[in-house]
Subunit: 527 residues, 2 copies
């Protein structure tokens, strides 16, 4: 079989990746777990490759890292070095990176240490925090392919605006992460650097489209990560990989310099947001660090809402999903009731209608924007790309058809909000996905997350502390058996709040995740 | 010439109007000024038809009216009666109404008086304030034609959401007002109830599309009015008629129940906003009364920004426009400098580019939405409708073409904002129009207002107190002579501020208009 032209171009992405991996931290193949070993999440502790201090550092929250640096107990350089070592290991096992930026990271960390030594002060709320960044968020002077072979040589003129704010707040970028072809899979495979794996079970998907970020968080290759979400692309990876993730309400986090096909589409706004390996608190830290800098002063399409400091309230509601997530929800409900939280059952309100609208709005141009970029290189369409494009109509919508869908969207939003208000419901606790995690290449149940995109509700994913257990999670009638593939997968849940109630939703998720995980209470299920 | 089918349908709008005019207040034709008399603005005082008290009441600001009612010095009933009388007179002279609602208004006023008598309290910040409302803002049980003959029998199921908030705050709706065919003229003529006239010069246009509101304010038929603006439709009528008008940043004032062709268009958001006959303070009162009710709790697409209470700052800038507005700007500049305001000159930044974008986005479907409604009745297109539609391309934009324009729009907004910031400019003082007011049927210079729509900047129009004087306003070379038609027209100016700085812009406009009009200072130019 002859090598195709697109393969030659695609090889460039692999070259960039391979050349960027810091050689000194690559573990020889014979010291790695066997390719048959599914769960590699605990390998950093067992490998002996990281020192105890490095293991501890990489398992601290961003908040704790900043506190440690502020107290002079940690240096930014040793922190980023520890995360770089863990990230290299993670990449060997999970193929989650598209490019390491070790030199930039270490040089930045040294600057931060220098600043702290000179002034006794941190540069900002993210001082010295290593953050992994999804590849389609542009980094100056580096290529940005957004998962398309055609864009493999496109070089960014400057850092994406979000990256600039994060760096100004003290963040250190050490690794860029993988995404699927077209950016529209809940999985993470492409024709450039190939599929990323789930650290809890390498036959499973890490979720998508921010799948590299999911793996990064699940393996603790960074304390925080930056993903983007238009249908679940932050939340699914967080849920699949036992991590935390937050999709903010649209138009609060800057989008300038985040590369997508068909920019200017406004019917369903995608948004960037944080993933975290350790806590909801870190998600809040990320939001605060960005929004306190008033990004609307540069990207004027953002809404000028300051980041409010709020406390958690105790009113919320939940709805029952399919097994094995049912058990996690039931578990959560009992814990919440015991903690004095008001819980009422919630029947999904026309979620099928929501899916009808949003699936029509994902590709109003019949996915021609995406198909054009794909055809420019001639790379083949992956099955999940075909599957996603099948939601677009055969021919493009007309502009008035698009307008009509905008009206349906707004009417649905108003009705959903009115129903929640009339029932006194502030938050909805719900699944992230039909099961705990999908097999690689099979993630097709978008609407557990996408319904909140059509509603533009902020959503937080957190691990419950439970993991799938075939004995406890019997297969339902009429439910496609998943027990094998779900086995050993962490079970995450999603808490959503009302539009623009981002701060309240994060505060509530902090409280709920603590209660559900049994923190400060009777049980620590995992960790 | 045979009567066309559309004329029969259109007659229904005239019937509704004629049947609604309170007969008891119609002035016999022989007591009206001659049809040749251009300026009728002072007729209410001279006619003897209104008592001195009624003249005084109708020349009070909304703020003062509410204070008077709160002090028990005025009743809502006498207030609305006075305004109804003046509005009937105004309608006889200017043809500004589409429907009077005297019964509803008086009955509501009596309820308010009853409430005040019983409780000693006002129902809200607009207690008893008569407000005129542009016709395409729906009123329950009444027709809503939005200027189209085809819609002459469409009956609204409920009040527009904005009307509900205003009424809850205490407003009394007594008259609905005229608008042009297609809603897309800066004039005010249609095939239903015909052209509205400018009270300062009846050969001139009252502006548009909220032209009925312009006339209502100029003649003081209401203390406040509700218009809508997607290219100048609040500001031009305010400017042409010597009144005050405010176009808020989009997505702050509810749009539910405001009828337009092609709803769901989001590239350029239209927005409702207030006009006032007396003061900038009343514009702020209107915004506060609506936004304090948190309209985003019902119309969830609104931005949840509370209405902030701010004080005026003293930094602003201005730019020179063509004569005779040049004189007004020069006058304003001298006054502002004398008052200690920092003023710098401002060259328009790519306003032609802004117009290119916005004019392409007004009719991305090649105006098919509008043409369809027009063809449903067979009514002929008015010249200004043809003129406006000429800005739409021959064929509809594709969705990706629309997206590309959205990106251009956002880039232009970011660049404009960055430029203002780099020069330390908070506000721009500029013309409303190329001249003081246009001749009926000739208003074609949208971009003095529309550039601020593409930028989504809030803008306030206020009268300078100056009127056109052919001796002082010589005709420039290369400038189409307007001295004859401008003669005796009031000269308004526009103050715009940055996106979402609505509160600051109104506060600054209050200060600037006081200084320019010489209030609290040496000169009272008019009033």
């Amino acid at each position: 079989m002859s090598v195709q032209n697109w393969e030659i171009r695609a090889r460039r992405a692999k070259d960039i990746l391979l050349n960027s991996v810091p050689k000194q931290w690559i573990l020889p193949a014979h010291r790695l777990p066997s390719a048959h070993q599914k769960n590699v999440e605990d390998f950093p502790r067992k490998s002996g490759f990281l020192s105890d201090r490095e293991v501890s550092i990489t398992e601290m929250s961003a908040t704790a890292l900043v506190a440690g640096m502020g107290a002079g107990l940690l240096s930014a350089e040793e922190v980023v070095t520890a995360f770089l070592k863990r990230a290299v290991l993670g990449h060997q096992l999970l193929n989650f990176a598209t490019e390491f930026m070790a030199e930039r990271a270490i040089s930045r960390a040294k600057e931060l240490d220098e600043h702290f030594k000179r002034t006794g002060k941190l540069v900002g709320p993210l001082h010295g925090v290593p953050i992994s960044v999804k590849e389609h968020i542009e980094i100056k002077g580096r290529t940005c392919n957004a998962g398309f072979v055609a864009w493999v040589d496109d070089i960014a003129n400057e850092d994406a605006l979000l990256a600039r704010y994060l760096e100004k707040a003290g963040a250190v970028f050490h690794v860029r992460t993988n995404q699927p072809q077209s950016l529209m899979h809940l999985c993470c495979d492409n024709n450039l650097t190939g599929p990323t794996r789930n650290p809890y079970n390498r036959t499973l998907s890490p979720g998508g489209s921010s799948g590299g970020e999911g793996a990064s968080m699940g393996f603790k290759c960074a304390a925080l990560g930056v993903g983007t979400d238009i249908g679940g692309s932050i939340r699914a990876p967080a849920g699949f990989c036992g991590a935390y993730g937050f999709r903010p309400t649209a138009l609060r986090i800057p989008a300038t310099g985040i590369k997508v096909p068909g920019p200017g589409q406004e019917s369903i706004h995608g948004t960037a947001g944080p993933l975290a390996s350790q806590s909801v608190e870190d998600l809040d830290l990320f939001q605060r660090a960005v929004i306190d800098q008033e990004p609307w002063e540069t990207e004027t399409s953002l809404v000028p809402l300051p980041w409010r400091r709020v406390k958690a309230t105790k009113d919320m509601t939940m709805r029952p999903p399919p097994s094995p997530v049912t058990r996690a929800l039931h578990h959560a409900k009992q814990k919440l009731l015991a903690a004095g939280i008001k819980v009422v059952d919630w029947e999904p309100y026309r979620h099928d209608h929501g899916w009808e609208i949003i699936s029509s709005l994902y590709f109003p141009d019949a996915a021609n924007s995406q198909r054009t970029v794909l055809s420019q290189s001639g790379e083949p369409l992956l099955p999940l790309t075909e599957w996603a494009f099948a939601y677009s109509r055969a021919s493009p919508l007309t502009i008035p058809e698009n307008w009509a869908l905008n009206c349906q969207r707004d009417a649905y939003r108003d009705a959903y909000h009115a129903l929640m208000k009339s029932r006194g419901v502030d938050f909805i606790l719900c699944p992230v996905y039909v099961g705990a995690a999908a097999v690689t290449g099979e993630a097709q149940y978008w609407n557990y997350t996408a319904v909140w995109n059509i509603l533009d509700y902020p959503g937080v994913v957190f691990p419950t502390g439970l993991i799938v257990d075939p004995a406890l999670d019997p297969v339902d009638d009429g439910y496609r058996p998943r027990s094998e593939v779900d086995a050993r997968a962490p079970i995450g849940l999603q808490l959503v709040g009302k539009r623009f109630k981002d701060e309240e939703t994060l505060a509530a998720a902090g409280l709920v995740s603590d209660i559900v995980q049994g923190k400060g209470g009777d049980i620590r299920c995992r960790l």
